[in-house]
Symmetry: C2
Subunit: 370 residues, 2 copies
DNA sequence: GCTTGTACTTGAAACGCATCAAAGGGGCCG
DNA sequence: CGGCCCCTTTGATGCGTTTCAAGTACAAGC
């Protein structure tokens, strides 16, 4: 249990300390026999290099970190996936931290990572990065994801307005009169989406817009609650088009509406945001606006790499992504679906899922398809 | 851009190095004025403690790490969620790494974390932990999740056999004759589920079981491919009951079957595994077996805490979870669903979702509910 | 005024490793 | 046999902290 250190390996192998270090970091400098001897000793002793000492002595290690607002938001997972793949491609590790929708925690992890001599740090910030000016001076490359920064710095901006615009156009095409946007209003991104919707509806003053705060978590339960609340309204106060910030949210809304006897999409139409595979891979696909999360993560790492390679980086550099919307022929109602026309972008995807239930028991949720 | 170190703060504040350190770690030892002065200096200079040096000098920091086989598997996210909450409760950070279904990478991150002087490490291993004997000697507390270890060590075992059993019982109740289990066979957990199915079917030798490997990723696309393959078979070679290791997988199978004109659940019944909120919160809920991932993560951290607190821990300690299955009255067919009987465990959940698409464009996936 | 105690503060000694200038060893040429 | 050069190995140095024994200043008690 006593920790084995490099000096133990050196003594045991009958070589010097520096040689063992070289075996780890510059194996090509050693004679093959020496290398082999050392490696055997390392394995025999179960030696594990102390990363802290390593970083202290040698500067930054090849690893990036990513702070996400929540792990169970599909979009964030896409980002993580893209960042992961790109990072590995460059031989970097990726460490992920979950800020759990808590800005204090987000800040905490950010500081933690910046102090860890990471090669670079990425955040998908929950709010406008007000702290950025202070952070920008930090000696660690940092990239903001899915957000537009006015402060100098690096960021990858998804065109959240475009997402709002697409939704609005969809709503117009469907003849909507009253749109409800459902989601956690505190999210900067949501604000932008709403802005996009407003802009797109500038010429349609007759269409009413409403934002319903989904509480802290954006869960299906939140969606269900909101759906129930919508269902309970008098018909003339009820939106005829609901947009969920999350697919899960939208899904919750749908089930509440259906449970309460409101026809979807007959009386109320519902769309989500995320592009969650589960949402559209089932027999009755959910309409969903899918921001290019994977690409955002990938570009984020690329910006990090740029900063690392050009030691004296430009003050500000950013990438805009997702403005060019790919729209697809609409389908009027669930009943009308011609499966041949359905867009099932399986070939573009990278898997997914998420779950629930905090009980001790193995549960089984019964439903259809059984 | 030059890194500010503790000595800079000390000089600038006109105190000694040790005092600044105390301000950071034992603020109660300082006179309030001194503390205030130091804190102001820290903020003014933008000082960020070097975590590496910190850990080197002071031993382990209060942080745990979690290595997951994949982030887009809902079950793993549940684990992460449970671990996160429990860790925060004890004042620990949680760092997550994605092994991306690659055992080399899993091993890599594991070694990395063990060398980082983490307070504890958790893994949801992809295969049987053969390397465990070597790792068990490591000076860092480690806990295996969702797996049963025969080697000495700590682990939290989900009763994967029970999951298999539940599925089998469901299949029997539905009068299945031919069950197909769809998923990546390399996963240890899947093996156990299949074992559970076999055991439960011991008295039903007439029911045929088949395992279809879903490839590396367990994506909806994989599911779709398998579904298509199943649909293409002659009716008598076709399974009448398909179990997806993942909800996404199951969902993909369903859409393929439906696309190919096979009735679900008319001709083929399909169930998933994960308890993904999206799967059952929609208007047509997917049947899904939900292992208690959240609890597994929580218990994992608890075992870690135990090891930390009792410095000389018992050789082996484990927790079994999920054996007591909570079953629910079955529903015969989608058309028969009585919504009042549906189990929508919203109150137990913690949100979710995941997405796809690697394009540059903001995409919109059209489907029903529109 | 001197002693004892209290409340902070100091600074030197690790922590485990990467680095790099320097030493060592062996082969080759003259 | 001596001189060179190249390949390999050595070990002292410093990375930025924490820790802790030793110090300082000041107050109270005698």
């Amino acid at each position: 249990m006593a920790k084995v250190k490099i000096s133990d390996v050196a003594r045991e192998a009958g070589v010097s300390l520096g040689t063992v270090s070289n075996a780890l970091n510059h194996p090509e400098k050693l004679r093959p026999e020496t290398l082999k001897l050392i490696n055997e000793t390392i394995n025999r002793l179960g030696y594990l290099p102390n990363q802290s000492a390593r970083q202290l002595a040698g500067g930054a290690t090849k690893s990036f970190s990513l702070v996400l607002p929540r792990l169970d938001h599909g979009f964030s997972l896409q980002i993580a996936s893209g960042a992961h793949n790109e990072a590995r491609k460059h031989g970097y590790d990726l460490l992920i931290a979950n800020a759990d929708n808590d800005d204090i925690l987000e800040d905490h992890y950010l500081r933690y990572f910046m102090g860890t001599q990471m090669s670079g740090v990425m955040v998908q910030p929950m709010a406008s990065p007000d702290w950025h000016p202070a952070m920008a001076k930090m000696p660690v490359p940092i990239v903001h994801l899915d957000i537009h920064c006015s402060e100098p710095g690096y960021y990858v901006a998804a065109d959240n307005e475009a997402q709002g615009r697409i939704i609005a156009e969809l709503a117009i095409a469907r003849g909507a009169h009253h749109i409800a946007v459902v989601g956690r209003a505190a999210f900067m991104q949501l604000t932008l989406r709403v802005l996009g919707i407003h802009k797109a509806l500038a010429l349609h003053p007759d269409i009413k817009i409403e934002v319903i705060d989904a509480g802290e978590w954006n869960t299906a339960a939140d969606g269900y609650g909101i759906g129930a609340q919508i269902a309970a309204r008098p018909a003339d106060e009820r939106p005829d088009f609901v947009v969920g910030l999350t697919d899960v949210l939208a899904s919750g809304v749908i089930s509440a509406l259906v449970d309460k006897g409101i026809a979807v999409p007959g009386q109320v139409r519902v769309a989500g945001c995320d592009g969650n595979p589960l949402a559209w891979s089932g027999s009755v696909p959910l309409t969903t606006v899918a921001p290019p999360g994977y690409e955002i993560g990938r570009k984020g790492v690329q910006l990090l790499m740029e900063q690392i390679e050009n030691k004296a980086p430009a003050k500000t550099k950013h990438v805009h992504i997702g403005s060019a919307a790919r729209t697809v022929t609409a389908v009027t109602a669930a009943e009308d679906i011609n499966r041949q026309e359905l867009v099932r972008p399986f070939l573009l995807e990278r898997a997914s899922t998420q779950a629930s239930s905090q009980t001790d028991a193995t549960a089984i949720n019964l439903g259809a398809y059984l």
